[in-house]
């Protein structure tokens, strides 16, 4: 049996030797930081024009994370490609012929890629926080303020979980194209739109991204968003359940299907 450290080592070699890893993770970082910075600067200059309700629930931390809606898409691409290219290239057969224990293979791959996504996510969220606060002027908050560290740390975890969720989905669908074709519109459009539609939003708030992003709010119902029936940690918990479900589904498919 191929030992788990050996598989981890091999997966690390695989992940660091393809260029898609670099460009997806750099995109996630740059997009999140840049968009957060731009929006922070904008809101700083136009703070007085904001509706009263938004001013009352102004959340400097959450505003800084505005770039996450786009930045997370790069994380989705990263997660999908890590798994999907094994299928599209046929490498999966070489891999599984070398690691017949499919569970070790899948979870080692996801552990390595997930850890990398988490590290990049944390770096992104902390850099985003400090850059955006520097641009928010008088409206800034401090990392030492109540719940801020939780939100910033949570933002990094959120990015990591998005990537891992995508890996699980790609394992279930066994195709990069199909997974991207489903996940990208879902996170970018469907989830955002449904969460604004009355009626649909009671369901949409349990979507992984909607639930998970609550962790990034310091002020409850930040920026006059809809109140959720769960707190920030429970929201992250809901997202974690989605991730576990995707991984379990992926594992079942991988174990059962012919490669």
């Amino acid at each position: 049996m191929a030992s788990v450290p050996a598989v981890l080592n091999s997966e690390w070699t695989k992940i660091r030797t393809v260029s898609s890893t670099t460009w997806t993770l750099i995109s996630a970082f740059v997009v999140t930081v840049a968009m957060g910075a731009a929006l922070s600067a904008l809101l700083n200059s136009q703070f007085d024009d904001l509706p009263t309700a938004e001013r009352a629930t102004f959340d400097a931390t959450y505003v800084g994370f505005s770039g996450m809606t786009l930045g997370q898409l790069a994380m989705v691409v990263f997660g999908v490609l890590v798994v999907g290219t094994e299928y599209s290239s046929g490498m999966i057969r070489t891999s599984l012929a070398a690691v017949p224990q499919r569970g070790s293979f899948l979870f080692s791959k996801i552990a390595v890629a997930g850890a990398l996504a988490l590290v990049v996510g944390l770096a992104t969220s902390f850099v985003t926080f400090f850059v955006s606060q520097a641009l928010l002027g008088d409206h800034r908050t401090d990392i030492g303020a109540e719940n801020v560290l939780r939100a910033v740390f949570g933002g990094g975890v959120y990015m990591g979980l998005i990537a891992i969720f995508s890996m699980g989905v790609a394992t279930m669908l066994r195709s990069s194209m199909l997974s991207l074709g489903i996940l990208m519109p879902f996170f970018f459009l469907v989830s955002q739109i449904l969460s604004a539609v009355p009626g649909a939003k009671t369901v949409a708030r349990y979507f992984p991204d909607q639930a998970g992003s609550k962790i990034m709010q310091v002020v409850p119902d930040a920026m006059n968003s809809d109140p959720a029936p769960y707190g920030p940690w429970a929201g992250l918990g809901i997202m974690a359940l989605w991730v576990i479900a995707a991984l379990a589904g992926g594992y079942l498919v991988l174990r059962k299907r012919d490669a």
Binding site: T13, T94, A97, A98, P100, D258
Partner: protein
């Protein structure tokens, strides 16, 4: 040692592998032959645990592949040379595989040298030619210095030098006592490389014997006899030869194939019957012919006649007697001594040229 017992794989209604039982022994190159879609790759995928058998089982060294301790060190497989991430360099691809089995990095450079890819080791494999990809796949199979090696069409895309190299590599691996299982479409290639042959068609075992036995069982000698184009001459000779214990089979171009009688005896019998001989030549059915004959009933994908053929009027050699049965496709003979027409050619049309492996001795040779 690879052992399959009642191995069966169905994809929906399609039975790709049908109750296959065989053994692949160490110390020999075992060729695995079959037409397109006969189930060779499926069988190999089941050996390495990628596909789960619908029924039956296959073991490597007595264990199902999935429960082998440190599989890459025991079994090396080239299944699909293109099955690499094209963005990764050849060396990094092999490195990731080596790390799985705790194989030292030095071994990676070693196998790169063995397959002759050391100069392109740092290049992305997406830019590799078919043959280079094949070499990379062979390198991956050799990486763990395994006792059991599987190669699915390893010479596919290789130049003659590469084919020669693979042939010698297989033989060398077998001479080191390893189990070498190689699939191919080409009987001629296997006749040069393999010691043992397993032939399948439509997923079923057609033959499992040593190459030597295969040759003696299938490449029967025969004589080709040509008589003047008069039906009574043919009939007289056929009767005389059959009476003397020979077997006579008409060939598509009007000649007669005779087995079971030595050439001088055929000549004597013809003389006795008052039949003039225009040709009497010794032949040996090639292995390729024997193989095609064996699998012809099991070919899934064959070409149909090109309609253009009808544009060229076939030059009739002579009038065939209406009852000679030559206008119909000949039925599959019981004994292997009658080569079928190549796919797509009407059996009544003349053969374009003598078979290259036949020894032409008569005036017919050109």
């Amino acid at each position: 040692m690879i052992e399959a017992v009642g191995l069966t794989k169905r994809y929906g209604a399609k039975t790709a592998v049908d109750n296959l039982s065989f053994q692949v022994r160490p110390g020999a190159v075992t060729g695995f032959l079959g037409p397109n879609g006969s189930g060779k790759s499926t069988t190999m995928r089941m050996i390495v645990g990628l596909d789960r058998p619908t029924a039956g089982r296959v073991t490597v060294g007595g264990h199902p592949f999935r429960s082998l301790p440190n599989a890459p060190r025991q079994v090396g497989a080239l299944l699909d040379a293109k099955a690499v991430h094209g963005g990764r360099s050849a060396r990094n691809h092999l490195l990731s595989l080596a790390q799985l089995a705790g194989i030292p990095t030095a071994r990676v450079d070693e196998v790169l040298g063995v397959v002759g890819l050391q100069d392109v080791a740092k290049r992305r494999s997406s830019g590799f030619s078919l043959g280079m990809g094949q070499r990379l796949g062979i390198a991956a199979a050799l990486l763990g210095d395994p006792r059991v090696l599987l190669f699915d069409e390893p010479v596919n895309g290789l130049d003659p030098e590469g084919i020669h190299w693979v042939r010698n590599l297989m033989k060398q691996l077998a001479s080191e006592g390893r189990t070498v299982f190689v699939s191919s479409h080409l009987m001629s290639e296997m006749a040069l490389t393999a010691d043992h042959l397993i032939v399948i068609g439509r997923g079923q075992l057609l033959s499992d014997m040593s190459v030597k036995d295969f040759i003696s069982a299938n490449s029967a000698d025969f004589a080709r006899v040509r008589v003047p184009p008069e039906p009574e001459q043919r009939e007289k000779l056929t009767a005389a030869l059959t009476e003397a214990g020979g077997r006579v089979m008409p060939e598509p171009d009007g000649a007669l194939r005779v087995t079971g009688l030595p050439l001088p005896r055929i000549s004597d019998l013809a003389h006795g019957a008052g039949v003039r001989l225009w040709q009497l030549s010794p032949h040996q059915a090639s292995l390729e012919e024997a193989y095609m004959r064996m699998t012809q009933g099991a070919v899934d994908y064959r070409s149909t006649a090109d309609a253009k053929e009808g544009l060229v009027p076939p030059p009739p050699p002579y009038e065939l007697p209406p009852d000679s049965g030559l206008a119909q496709p000949p039925e599959l003979p019981q004994r292997g001594w009658y080569a079928p027409p190549p796919p797509g050619r009407s059996p009544a049309a003349p053969a374009p040229s003598p078979h290259p492996t036949e020894r032409e001795t008569s005036e017919e040779s050109r």
